[in-house]
Symmetry: D2
Subunit: 217 residues, 4 copies
């Protein structure tokens, strides 16, 4: 067992990393103090014990080991537990990192659900690609909640590309069969994103930008 080669092999499987950068990573590790490597080890050892999926929104979050529930019930993240978040809105995102981008924008105060994946076009088993059962359970629980707000809107927040659109179509059909017409299903608005120049914008974006135009205050 040669740990240099093994680690190079492990880094090659990291997202976006080629063979040369994998090698550089191992040289970087070699340049660290042994105590730094031990610190990596300690963090890795507890990573999966302390970073757990929320049983409600399915996102990864940090959870102290001591705070694991005794009664076998699911672990719930701080967003899902927060009484100040508006449970009449549910936003569905594809990945954990999308949720972080939305949170960072400070423009949304409802609940989330992390789907896990997009559904590729022509996918034969879309049900297998996403957390469909968990999503429907979550939607049901928000419809039947006895306290607080009743679900008003599901926001499908997928990316503006063919896979994202395909996922949104699939989710809309799925949800329409499970919720009544009083619950709105929406998708994110299209238009000029920051930095877009009109000259270089495609026709769909211009069309959306025109339809979503805003009265200036």
């Amino acid at each position: 067992m040669d740990p240099f080669n093994n680690l190079e092999e492990i880094f090659r499987r990291f997202p976006g990393i080629g063979p040369r950068q994998a090698k550089r990573f191992v040289y970087h590790l070699l340049s660290l103090e042994q105590s730094d490597l031990e610190s990596i080890n300690e963090n890795l050892s507890v990573l999966k014990k302390t970073t757990v999926r929320c049983s409600v929104c399915q996102r990864f979050f940090f959870n102290r080991i001591e705070s694991l529930p005794n009664d076998g019930a699911g672990i719930v993240c701080n967003i899902c537990k927060d009484p100040n978040r508006d449970a009449s809105y549910l936003m569905i995102v594809s990945k954990d990192i999308d949720l972080l981008s939305v949170e960072k924008s400070r423009s949304y105060n409802g609940m989330y659900f992390v789907l896990g994946n997009n559904i590729p076009i022509l996918e034969e088993n879309p049900t297998e690609r996403i957390r469909q059962k968990e999503l429907l359970q979550r939607v049901n629980s928000l419809i039947n909640q006895d306290n607080s707000a009743i679900l008003k809107e599901v926001i499908i927040a997928t990316s503006a590309n063919p896979e994202g659109d395909n996922t949104a179509d699939y989710l809309n059909n799925l949800l329409r069969g499970h919720i009544n017409d009083e619950v709105k299903v929406t998708v994110l608005g299209r238009g000029l994103s920051t930095g877009s120049e009109l000259e270089y914008s495609d026709s769909d974006t211009i069309k959306s930008a025109l339809m979503n135009r805003k009265v200036v205050k």
Copy 2:
């Protein structure tokens, strides 16, 4: 006079062209037939006579020489003359090429005005940078038009970057002083442009995409 060097010098001043590509252009010209060069000459000779600014929207358009008005009145382009275009909408764009992008999107049937430029931030003489006098004349003529529709909305269609925003702010202030409150002033909608991924979108774009979200049919 060395025409190779002269033409190289001329091509260097073309937008986005460096010294090497300028040289390649002259070699390309040399590889053409003499008849091709004569055809370029003929087109250049009549370019400015036949491609004229519309006296109404200020855009460049092709106008047969014979069709020049005798009475000294301005020349009017086919869009501004088209009775099927809705004169209750006026869209202000920065450049001719922006207008072409909007036309290509087939999503707008109103009138246009080509400003000529954006207004850079901290510009001291914004009035000089744009066709301000012509714009105000055009807006007045649309407000006081005795036939057809009365102006309902001015759409400021600048790019989603700091210069575009600065231009939009300037135009809004300018127009507010010249039109009454019944005429709406709008800007293009922001949101995810085609191809945008949520993960890589900035907070402003996410905020706009959320505010402009759409109910799925």
Copy 3:
């Protein structure tokens, strides 16, 4: 005939120019003074009369119309006429612009021959792709020159890519059949080009860099 569209069409055929940049070029022309356009016309009109191929090295060069030879003999460029250039060296380059790069380096004082093209791999008629007949004439004239130096070396200065290598192989075989063994045939040296890092260099380049290593003074 719409000169805007015609010129856009002409610019699209320029090397490396897409449809959008072609359009921008026409708008650039429209922004020029009529006198500037006339100047382009004048230069274009005389370009092919004054920029002519040297009958010796085949490169394009500027030649005053008045200086055309009366006797029907070929026109000769200033490099080929220069008595200070060393006619015992002949460098073969693929394109005019390669010759300009070598001249700019001020590292060569021999004669040139411009081949016109590279020979693509698997080309069935290599003879047609290049100025083969003119090259052999030129080599013969340098071998049999009664005054001055006798040809000592032919330098094949093609690019370091598969097409360039293929062209060099073809030329070497061709020349070997026409010149005796006292005339050397050489190719450009390989090694680290300016800016190359060892880490990112391919094995062939490293091998050449090692073989061509130099004693430090």
Copy 4:
């Protein structure tokens, strides 16, 4: 202690990794099995024990723990121990990864020395930046070796950029003071690197390519 944040922080310090990719790496770790994470841990634990610097050439290499010398002498890598390598040549490279590129080219069978760094231009303490003492020891041992070959040549194999050139100048001066004139000091050859086109090559590269030109067999 939140291991997600800690690991994100650790990955941010990896060469070439920004904040977003650091986050993606942690999500990638979370997607692995616990057994995969344990395997990373095991490799990290022994990395620095088994990947050690060769006491002769200073490169990192894999060394089984059991094979540590008892007598306190230095550990020697397989290249430095290999009796088939020619000890009359010593190549100095800046970094471990440069040595791997040269080995991969299979064009060198001499010895190596890994300097550790380049010397930046205007560096005030060049002695501190590189393994100068170890280099001089290594050169001395090769000059005074009682068996086998006597050192014939030191090849300074730095990159073809200003830092590499500066390092080569420094090393040449340093070595000249320590070895007699019978030992050659060389630098890597310059010329067209694989893929270089003549048209885009700088003057220095063209000059070197001309000086290093080769007779075709």
